[in-house]
């Protein structure tokens, strides 16, 4: 039971999904299974949350280093959850004017956007370190990045304004995007398609089953 049922279930469900793509009357199963997935995920989130609270609660209880921050995690979680579930008008909890929306706009959003904005700095430091003409491959990486970086902003236009139209940095950047970049990306995408097909089959055939074996 423990070992066989999961394997058989994976195989049946997987094959059904593949076949459903070709048999129109089975299409309805696709939607249904996806809905079930969302339901399972909605149940599973309790496990994650419980884990988060236990880990941080343990920190507080044992007065470990940084236990105060553990308290901040739990407090932040409880406040927004209670407000979101009980005090923000049910399903329209995200509408402007609700307390949930206020927390979202003034706490969640600035934190999220700033974390995202850190990338501007990391892009600079990574490109400084990585873009050195060590060999042919690295030089190609460097040149393509350089042309794109300049070609996408007005600086590129200024420094190549003396060239005829169609030959400026922006045009070179467009050409790189349209041809060699598209080619490389197609190769990656086609490879991925086959990789997915193959790993999906391995999963369905039960060859890759670490997630469901054991005991």
């Amino acid at each position: 039971m423990r070992r066989e049922v999961p394997l058989i279930l994976t195989a049946i469900v997987g094959i059904t999904m593949i076949i459903a793509h070709f048999i129109p009357p089975l299409n309805i199963l696709k939607n249904l299974f996806e809905d079930w997935f969302f339901i399972i995920a909605a149940f599973a989130i309790y496990l994650g949350i419980l884990n988060l609270i236990l880990v941080n609660g343990d920190k507080i209880y044992k007065k470990q280093k940084g236990w105060l921050f553990g308290a901040v995690v739990i407090l932040g979680f409880l406040v927004i959850t209670i407000i979101g579930i009980f005090f923000s008008g049910g399903k329209s909890f995200q509408d402007p004017g609700t307390p949930f929306y206020y927390i979202y706009m003034n706490l969640y959003y600035p934190l999220s956007a700033t974390m995202f904005a850190l990338l501007a700095f990391f892009v600079a430091s990574a490109s400084y370190r990585a873009f050195r003409a060590r060999n042919v491959e690295a030089t190609m990486l460097l040149l393509a990045a350089f042309i794109l970086m300049l070609g996408r902003v007005p600086i590129g236009e200024w420094i190549s304004a003396w060239l005829p139209e169609g030959y400026r940095l922006g045009d070179a950047a467009d050409w790189i995007m349209d041809f060699p970049m598209t080619a490389g990306q197609k190769a990656i995408m086609i490879g991925i398609a086959l990789g997915v097909v193959s790993s999906a089959l391995r999963v369905i055939l039960g060859l890759e089953r670490a997630y469901s074996a054991g005991e």
Partner: protein
Amino acid sequence: MGKTKMVRQSHHHVGKLENSFFISFVLVSLLLSLCLFALRSTLAEEVPTAQGETAIQKDSVPPVPPTNVTAKDIPNDKGGAITVSWERSADDGGGAKNVTGYEILRSTKRDGGYEHIGNSPPGATSFSDNATKDKVLYFYKIRALSSTGTSESEPSAPAFSKRQWFNFSRLSLFILSLIIGSAIFYFIEKAKSGKGVFIRKIAGLEAVDDAVGRATEMGRKIIFIPGIMDMDSMQTIAGVTILGRVAKLVAEYEAKLEVPVCRSLVMVTCREVVKEAYLNAGRPDAYNDDMVYYLTDDQFAYAAALDGLFLRDRPAAVFLQGQFYAESLILAETANSVGAIQIAGTAMPTQLPFFVAACDYTLIGEELFAASAYLSKDPKLLGSLKGQDVGKFIFLLAIFIGAILLTLNSVLGLNLPDLRELFKGI
């Protein structure tokens, strides 16, 4: 990037048989494709059309009625729907009798009993009726509306909807799935019989041993991040299977592993996988659930927490294997700044450049999906990689022959077949 140095993964060299298998596959695929191509035209449905008579133009108030009303079953669906199309009224688009919309009328008899089943805006020329009973003949009329009056078109020829048991527009996809699927299956089966498979060296995966070894020596942690998406992504599944292989190594080396995740389902799965790996390595007692823990579902909060973790715990090795978005570089740069060995892998083309720039090793696209097979050294799994190559070969051949045929057409003015037609319905 992978150096093209080769390793022999097994003793047997698979020879001519394989090549002939390759060729026969290709031939069969071409043959099947041609058959399907020939078949397609005969399978195409007869479209019943009704030549509506052009309405007599009168100077009276109502607008000119729409013409050429046709109805046909929507092909390749589960039935229960018919598309109606028509040519616009001459008064659609301006004038005193400007059409303000159309009403779609339906009946099971040509001469009467028409019911109003829906509306279309001015300018529209089609409507899908999604509420038909299968195998019942329906006639349709279109009524043009305007502020000055209404006028009806001639009825359409009858049409009926039917349930299609096979979506013929996806036939070529179906055949290709079969061919690639059976190629993979064939090589897996063949590997079972003991014949080995050559797999080229993948540098990023060769480095896994070193990374784990180094972490053991330094007595520092190994952190594994299986991407930020849930279990409904194949990349997450690939990442989790790689975790299984890495965890086994970690258990054997007696190093320390930590897996912070950002989805509850992924947490559950990773726990199963790591537990199983420790069991297989003969150290079930060294496993504990706390190695895998959940942080938050949020992309950037997860990144913020991981950044803090990297700086405070200074891991010796960081694995980033799965589906990543913008946080890829935030993680890679911070881990780099604490001197961790980083082995990354993703099938997100937009994030690959950042991993290539900031990590020591990167598995590119397909290599991510090949990684667990490669690390397992299990001949069956390696066989599936060989099967993938058959798929690649078919695609390469299609590109090569297709491009040559089209080039000959354009240079010499020939009329050779266009291979793209094979994939027309897709």
